[in-house]
Amino acid sequence: MRFLLDDEQRDFGRTLGRLLAAAETPAAVRAWGAGDHAPGRAVWRRLGEAGVFGLAVPEKYGGSGFLPVELVVAYVEAGRHAVPGPLVETAAAAALFGRLDDPGPAGRRLPAIAAGDAMISYADPAHGPYTLDATAADAVFLTHGDTLRRIGGSGPEPVQPSVDPSRRLSRCAAEGGGVLASGPAVRAAAAHAADTARLLTAAQALGVGRRLLDDTVAYVKQRTQFGVAVGSFQAVKHRLADVLVALEFAEPLVFGAAVELAGGTAGGGADPADADPTCADPADAGPADAGTAIAMAKVAAGEAAYAAARAALQLHGALGYTDELDLSLWMRKARALRGAWGTPAECRARVLASPTPGR
């Protein structure tokens, strides 16, 4: 198993971090919540130009192949900068279409996704009742059991605002839309898409948690009370130390799960023996399949990010409870991501559903 990012992967993350730091994402998030998608689309295009969405698209459709580790690097940065929009859903749709390998209407979307020109919303009622950002997306796809549909025509259901203003939810349309594909291949591809979505949600949560910790550490160093920085108080230190512990031990689970997914053992009960033999686990004790590893990553990253959000709110004092503080956007995102693409309870049940969860 690959345990360390190589120089190229680290450079990629740093480049995206710089690009997003300059993009004024908090303003884009606030505009997004008010229904103005233009600033968010501008950020999106820059991510597309940097090759982020191509990482989920097969080479023959103009992408760079399905590269989960690089996707995780990118989505950690997206979380760190609270990029708005259906990032996870677009990558999941690419995973779905790529796995279906259907040259029809679905496959035709892939080059546009790779280029960053297509913002796709995708949902499956098995993983939640809402689609994300259907009003902003260029197209909305839905899998349900054995069928893949494109939702359109009468338009999406009314928007249900999320606690995270950059997430605009609408109910999955129960019927309607054109059936694009059906059969067991759709079911298997949807499982792969859901694994991808769950992993990238975990990656985003990890980035959200890192940002909450970094900004809160910076704040408690400069905020003084009783004549000293509040960050010198042990109660404050210990709370932040616990957040760092949680993030540091969530991170290897997230990257480890990406490696498992790259090994081709993604959900749908693929045989672990099909895994890439060069990805031998030095501990020879990896989860039996990528789905288990991803569920572990989702639980750990979701909990760590939420703990970071709670600490950030508390340690900013009353300021932390305001909408004016940009960091509140991350606090609210941590709450939303915790349930997206697999609640903590679903993921924990998934972990124990594996015949050998810890080995």
Binding site: L4, V220, K221, V228, V245, D284, P357
Partner: protein, 403 residues
């Protein structure tokens, strides 16, 4: 970079597994914290040593196999999966040996290490004093210069294994006029059977004498048993403090094996409707896996040269968790250990109350005994409060303040 197991790593793992399968006692040994159990565990150390499995990461000349950190991790996984006995020599192997590798003389290495590897000498630590716990630099026990060595005077406490061990190591105030509390200390090794030593065992939570007080009344220690330079004992001790807290003290294999047993227990007896317990079992499994992957990442960083490497001939595993990163590890595994065992006891329902030595205690009392053992984790090796201070100040850069 990729960290892959070569055929020889697999061979190493297989050899360890085969040996352990053949030799691990079928019935658990009596508790380590009793005279009878201590002797049985010492005999087990001798058996391990006879197969050259007692100190795999050490150089061959001292009884080891020169194993890399990765192979040490593999060995530990096999060791705990085989449910092999607790290691009575743990304190010597994970605390004293790394210090000797870094600061000891050739003579000390040759004299001390082989006897430690075979269990012939079992070591206890002698750090804390009644007035010096977390604030270790407040220690007052003295080493007074005498002809050819030092005379130890004072009172040490919470000395793990000292009730039955042969020798001990610790810090003593040798230069009382030093300008700062952690200056003027000397790191010494001494005999627990030497004239002037009185050992008073202390019962831990379940009454077993797992540690002891040491009263030292002019105990002679020859110069040959000073480690490093006299007066510089603090930096000698701290250079390897990460070993006590980190990976090498409690390896991931210990937790992955316990989590696998917990999962099996849950499948056997849990009420499927009790999702609260299910979630706690899952969290234990997730925590053990997280620790295992974090350890592999650390091994990969060491192999890639981006983490401190073995220095001065010390085996890589001896420097696995340098400095402040070890504090993250210590907080994580000590809390995981308690959560894991508490979950097992809750799963056991009315049987969770049975003491480890109750005839009807499930699984030979392993969960009850493991829980008692785990409860000490957040306290020893530097309390978790001190570890969180270290994390906050050295890793997050927060300002120092009052403790």
């Amino acid at each position: 970079m990729d960290l892959e197991l070569g055929a020889d790593d697999e061979e190493f793992r297989r050899a360890a597994r085969d040996w352990l399968t053949a030799r691990v006692p079928a019935a658990p040994l009596p508790s380590l914290e009793t005279a009878e159990g201590f002797a049985a565990h010492r005999a087990w150390e001798r058996e391990l040593h006879s197969g050259r499995w007692s100190v795999v990461s050490w150089p061959e000349e001292y009884g080891g196999r020169g194993a890399s950190l990765v192979r040490w991790l593999l060995f530990e996984e096999e060791y705990y999966a085989a449910r092999a006995p607790a290691r009575v020599s743990q304190n010597g192997i994970s605390l004293l040996a790394p210090t000797l590798f870094e600061h000891g003389t050739d003579e000390q290495l040759a004299r001390v290490l082989p006897a430690m590897a075979s269990g012939a000498t079992v070591w206890a630590q002698a750090w804390s004093e009644p007035g010096a716990g977390s604030d270790l630099a407040a220690l007052r026990s003295a080493a007074v210069r005498t002809e050819g060595g030092w005379l130890l005077r004072g009172h040490k406490t919470w000395s793990s294994r000292a009730a039955f061990a042969d020798r001990a190591f610790g810090l003593f105030r040798s230069h009382p006029g030093a300008d700062r509390p952690h200056h003027g200390l000397t790191y010494l090794m001494f005999d627990l059977t030497a004239p002037g030593v009185t050992v008073r065992p202390i019962g831990r939570l379940d009454g077993k004498p797992a540690f002891a007080e040491l009263f030292l009344d002019d105990v002679f220690v020859p110069d040959a048993d000073v480690i490093g330079e006299p007066g510089r004992g603090w930096s000698v001790a701290m250079s390897t403090a990460g070993n006590e807290r980190g990976l090498t003290l409690r390896s991931p294999g210990r937790f992955t094996a316990a989590a696998a047993r917990l999962t099996a227990l849950w499948r056997d007896i849990a009420d499927p409707a009790d999702t609260a317990l299910r979630d706690r079992v899952a969290d234990a499994v997730i925590g053990a896996r997280a620790y295992q992957l974090a350890a592999c990442a650390q091994a990969a960083r060491i192999a890639a040269g981006s983490a401190p490497k073995a220095a001065g001939g010390a085996p890589a595993a001896g420097r696995a968790a340098p400095g402040a990163e070890a504090s993250l590890t210590k907080v994580f595994w000590s809390e995981l250990d308690i959560a894991l065992h508490e979950t097992a006891l809750d799963l056991l329902g009315p049987y969770g109350e049975l003491a480890a030595d109750a005839a009807e205690a499930p699984d030979h009392g392993s969960w009850a005994d493991g829980w008692i053992f785990a409860l000490a984790g957040p306290v020893y090796a530097g309390t978790n409060e001190i570890q969180r201070d270290i994390i906050a100040e050295r890793l997050l850069g927060l300002p120092k303040g009052r403790r």
